[in-house]
Structure formats: structure tokens, C-alpha cells
Symmetry: C2
Subunit: 389 residues, 2 copies
């Protein structure tokens, strides 16, 4: 169902939030010969656990902590009944957004992965099932969940990235049914695929550019599968690496991802493609731009650079980064580019600003000039995701 | 030879520079039964190449580019005759420092590795040789090279880190002969050793704390051996990862290293230990401190944090970061802590400010209040390295 034109006055748009997929997403949509091995919920005494193709996938409780105190945070898997309904029920989500003064949210998945990685992994063994799971998720998200209020719940599609022809087709199909963004793992190598800079993905990136939808690279895609399992599974990280280190580092993974996106020449080959660094924070970006330009100035001769302009030019032209609370980045926003920064709430994860978004916005963005504050809170997102059109 | 007390008026101290070890460092010092397998120069038509225990170790030309234009930068190995004499000759170095208005330089190695890694690697197969190589380097650096003018050429020791008892003894011996700092690989795991947070290193860190000498973690230690070989060897990095990406990313490796140093509790267990993040830049530090404190505030309950204070408290108490040109960091210096920042020149590497240090200092630090500028250019280094005492 295509989203209709409207003229909503967006004041606060959150560019990174998560659906916790309810139990029937796949069972109600998969072809009957695939349903048995498709994602389904198995309820145990401890938790409601996803089972996919015979394997159990417990979801970390840390993915559904909205409304809890920091002291209550736990990686233990939960029952749906122990989560805030806004996690999985779109009507309840809209009520939670009202409570928090948020006009719209841009959606990422949970069991599907932050960029559909669950099905990319599944495709190694059961490709037909994986492809149908991707399509079912995209259908459900756009035509059911976000269709509850498509002006406020913004859908983003996952892709069958293991086949770039199929993935490019899915971009077109997804946009047709109402998706306004596309999710790609920041480091596809973690799933055994070629790196983002590989020309094999050109049709996918061209399809996104042609449709005008951004490619979102959510943090965590730079973590290899085993590490991600440790983090999301709440397992003890390796000796000498406390969990706090992993939590503190994860956003910065996008520094390397974006440096390589630029130096590998993606923005030269796809000059109209919008690329979003999601949940990465922004305080590191002024250093990032300065360091990349310094590297280009000094090293482009012997490295035979793929670029024709300093790296910061490409960033400001077509890249964006999202943040929750980031005083160092806000203080240096002119160095980043006020048009390249977007606010996010990250409902219902541990870092979420919910239900204190208004208070935190006032505290941390209150000193910005009105025009910049509006751009960061809504204007840039309206432009990047094509809201209201 | 202990450094004598003096009262030099330091105005500009560079906290990161490199000796290119001359050919006779090891051959003139190793016990005769080890000399044959110890480091020696083999001259070919293309370059002077180190041979150690039967293996060739060409040094990237990028390690000796002082005086060349950016267009001339090359990773091809060189002859000594094609390097500026200041690379390997201490009298010539002092002249180059005079040309550039630099009062003192803090030294790191080249063939020895940025933190002695060459011999840590060698110790896996030839431990006696490796230990004697470490001692020979430390003897040469303090009693010959830096002894040319120990007020201006500041020695730092490498360690036999594979044996923490021997390493702690070497700290004491090194300080005795004039060393003012100690080098440790930022990620010992890259050399098959336990991570820095492992209690096995407690005697080493205690010895540094007791002697009042800082532990320097130079960037590049966070690169695994194979990657470092690719970079330093000038080999083509893997498909989809241009060399510029590696160059641009390398400093930031210390973000993760320092996050883990803090969260693993090293500053809790060694509250008087000084730790220096070398050549990492400083523009990322405001974000780093904010992100670590945010992580501690939200996650310390479920992670059972080893800390009792917010991470930024430990950073400001006992950690330092060095930079060459870093406008975003200088602009935010109050967020970092003006006492935690030190300037560097990185002679004779590709990023060096030589011979334009005065010009670059005026351009990039000219707006700082005098007291802060003095602290960054000299005062902090005098305190950290105990210069003039």
C-alpha cells in the first residue's frame, strides 16, 4: 500500500527505533511448504524464544528494556508479556510516542537482525526459505505494522543480499509497498559475503539511488557473528574484555565502516546515494572528517586514491549520522554539518531516551539556534526519508 | 648512565618520534654465540634490509620520509644513504630538531617495532636471542643514541613481555640506565600473549608505577600481525579495503584499547600508573569520555562493573593522548582536560610536522591561552616523563 501524500508538520522524528516482531509475522505469511521451518515462537518457562529452521534464537532482554530502570536491565530473554506492549504492538507504540512527544519513528528489526542478518545467515543453507522470510518481513512491516499510521511509523526493508539481483528487485518491490529506507549489514564479510565496496552490490546501490531511499548502516553490523552472539546472547565476553567495553565501542564501529565506504569510492560511483550511520553517535565525526582529509592530502599519491575530492566533501554531500545524547557532537555541529545529523530515540533498547526525550532534548539541544535544532530533530529526516511526500 | 639533574627551559617537547636503528646496534652488542642470528643489515641493489634469525625484514620507506614531498612518499624499502641522516644519526637529529624549534623528542623504534614486537615475536622460537636483542636495544638507545644529549633525546625501553618477571626486571634496569618511558604493545594478543588486562602483567605495571615512568601504547599495536605486515610491507591491502582506510583508521585503534584499559580495571588496580595513547590524535577523546561515562551510568549494574568512578575520572587522573594537528580536539580541549594532551612531531614518519612544526603550531594552537598552550607543547610532557629531574 503506497503511502499517501500528506502535510504533517513533523517536529520530532526519531531515526532509529525497533520493532520486536510479534509471533505471527512469518507463520501467517510463509508458503505452507516452508512454514514448519520458518520462524516461530516456542514458549518456555523462562522466555518466548524464536525457533528458525530447527535452531533456537533467544532474544536478549536488552532489546526490550523501555520503561525499566537501569538497575533492572538484564540480558536474559523475556516473555512477550514481560515487555512493554509498545515493543510489538503498533497501536501501543503510537501511544508511547505520544507520551514522549515523538511524531515519527524509523524502524529496524529485532529477530530479523539489525540489517536482516538472520536471513542472510539462513540463506547459506536454506535459500528459498530465507528469501521468503525476507519478503514476509517486508510485507508485514510496511502493510501491517507501519500501515497502522504510515505518517508516523516509517518502514525500512531488509534484503536478500546474498544475491544482488534479487536484492535490487526487493528494493524496488519494497519501495512500491511503502518502505522508505533499506537496511544493509555494515560489514557483509561478517556473513561470508563480499565487502560493501565490491562492485557486485552496484545494482543494489543503484536501485536505492534511483528510488531515492537511503541505505542505513546500523551499528553492530561491524561485529563479527561470534562477537554479536556473545553480546546479544548476554554471554560473558572473552577474558580481558568486559561487556562494558563492547557496549562502549559498538557505535564507533561505524567510523571504520564509513571511512571505507568513502575511500573505496562508493560515493564517487553512486553520487546520489544517501547513506546513514545509525546509532553511531556524532561526537567522533569532526575528528573523522579531519583525519580522513589529512590522510587524503598526504597519502593519495602513493595509495592511488579512488577519490577526486577530499573525503569530507562526500560525507557532507550524501551521508548522515544519528545520535541520542551527544554533547561533544552538538558542540561541534558546525564542523560536522548541521544538515548531516539526525536525532534518534532507540526505543525500546537500553540506550533509549524514552520516556524522557523532551527533557533530554531540552537539556542537550536547548542551546542550538532554532533552525539547526529543527533540522536535527526533524527537517533532515523529512528530507532523507522523503516524509510528507 | 643516569641522566643528570638540569634546569633546561623546555618550550616544545615532541612526545612521539622514531629512531631508525643504525646497522651496528645488535652486531656490536650481542654475545658472540648469538650474533650470527641477531639483526644485521644485508644490502641489496634496492635497499638495506634487516635480516633476523634467517628472515628478511624490509622496512617500509614510509617510516623515513622526513624531508620529502607528499608526492614522493613511497612504501618501497630504502638504503640508509637515501634517508635523511637525522633518521639514524643522533647528532644530525639534534640539528634537525634545531631547524624545527623542537627542544626534546621522546623515542620509539623502527625495526625493533613500535613496542618491541619484533623481539616478542622472535621469542616464540629463540627466546635467549630475543631477550639479548631487547637488552641490546635498550642499552644502545639510552647509553649511546640518547646519551648524545639526554636532555633532548628521551629514551623509552622495550620489554621481554613474554615473561612478566623478566619484563619487570627490565623496567628497573632500563630506568637505571636513563630510560624515561616503557613501550608495551597495545594488543598483546596480536603476538599470542594474554591481553593487557590480564593479571599476569601486574608486576610489569607495578614496576612502571613504582619507577614513575609512563607506559606508552603506540597506535598500530592494535593491528594484528598480518595486517601490520601488509601495511608496513607496502603490500596491497585486501580487496575492498584501500590503504587510505588503514592509514585513516590506525590512530583510532587506541579508542578501543583505552576503553578496555579502563573498563578492565587497570587504573583501579594501578592508580598511580601513567598511560599514554601515542599518535592517536585527540579529537575523538571528548566523544570517548562521554560515551564511556554513558555506558557506565546505564550498564554498570548488569555488567558488574570493575569501576567505582565514572571512566572519565580515571582518564583525567592518569592518562594522556598525543597529537600532531588536530583542530577538532584543540577546539574541545576543555572537554578532554588540558593536562592530558601532549603535542608530537612524529619525525621521520609520513605524518611528521617537520620541518614546519613552528608554522603548524602557530596556525593550529595559536588561539589557545598561553598557559594551556605551554602545557600542551611542553609542560605536560615535562611532568609525565620527569624531564629536568
Amino acid at each position: 500500500m503506497p503511502v499517501k501524500a500528506h502535510s504533517r508538520d513533523y517536529k520530532v522524528v526519531s531515526t532509529d527505533d525497533h520493532v520486536v516482531e510479534p509471533p505471527d509475522v512469518w507463520q501467517s505469511r510463509l508458503p505452507s511448504h516452508l512454514a514448519e521451518r520458518g520462524p516461530k515462537i516456542v514458549s518456555t518457562e523462562d522466555a518466548d524464544v524464536w525457533e528458525i529452521a530447527g535452531s533456537r534464537h533467544p532474544i536478549s532482554g536488552l532489546a526490550a528494556m523501555a520503561g525499566r530502570s537501569f538497575e533492572e536491565y538484564t540480558p536474559k530473554a523475556l516473555h512477550f508479556a514481560d515487555m512493554r506492549p509498545g515493543c510489538y504492538d503498533p497501536a501501543a507504540r503510537l501511544e508511547d510516542m505520544d507520551l514522549d512527544g515523538v511524531d515519527a519513528e524509523v524502524m529496524f528489526g529485532t529477530i530479523a537482525g539489525l540489517a536482516g542478518g538472520t536471513f542472510i545467515e539462513l540463506a547459506e543453507k536454506e535459500e528459498e526459505l530465507a528469501l521468503e522470510c525476507v519478503r514476509a518481513y517486508n510485507d508485514w512491516l510496511a502493510t501491517e505494522w507501519c500501515a497502522t499510521d504510515p505518517e508516523r511509523l516509517i518502514a525500512q526493508a531488509i534484503l536478500p543480499l546474498w544475491d544482488s539481483g534479487l536484492a535490487a528487485e526487493e528494493v524496488e518491490r519494497a519501495v512500491e509497498i511503502g518502505h522508505r529506507g533499506v537496511l544493509v549489514p555494515a560489514i557483509p564479510q561478517a556473513f561470508g559475503l563480499p565487502p560493501l565496496a565490491d562492485p557486485v552490490y552496484a545494482p543494489v546501490l543503484d536501485a536505492c539511488q534511483a528510488a531515492g531511499v537511503p541505505v542505513a548502516l546500523h551499528i553492530g553490523g561491524s561485529i563479527a557473528r561470534k562477537q554479536a552472539a556473545e553480546l546479544i546472547g548476554g554471554l560473558t565476553p572473552g577474558a580481558g574484555v568486559p561487556a562494558e567495553t563492547i557496549v562502549a565501542l559498538t557505535p564507533l564501529g561505524n567510523f571504520g565502516v564509513f571511512a571505507n565506504v568513502i575511500f573505496s569510492g562508493i560515493p564517487v560511483r553512486h553520487p546520489g546515494l544517501k547513506i546513514v550511520s545509525v546509532e553511531s553517535g556524532i561526537g567522533w565525526v569532526p575528528y573523522f572528517l579531519e583525519r580522513m582529509d589529512w590522510t587524503y592530502t598526504r597519502h593519495r599519491f602513493w595509495t592511488k586514491s579512488a577519490l577526486t575530492e577530499p573525503p569530507s566533501t562526500y560525507f557532507r554531500r550524501q551521508m548522515y549520522a544519528t545520535f541520542l545524547v551527544d554533547d561533544s557532537g552538538i558542540e561541534a555541529i558546525e564542523r560536522i554539518g548541521a544538515e548531516n545529523v539526525m536525532w534518534e530515540s532507540d526505543y525500546p533498547h537500553t540506550d533509549t531516551t524514552w520516556p524522557k526525550s523532551q527533557e533530554l532534548i531540552e537539556e542537550h539541544l536547548g542551546g542550538l539556534p532554532d533552525a539547526i535544532r529543527h533540522a536535527v530533530l526533524a527537517g533532515n529526516a523529512v528530507r532523507v526519508y522523503g516524509l510528507g511526500s
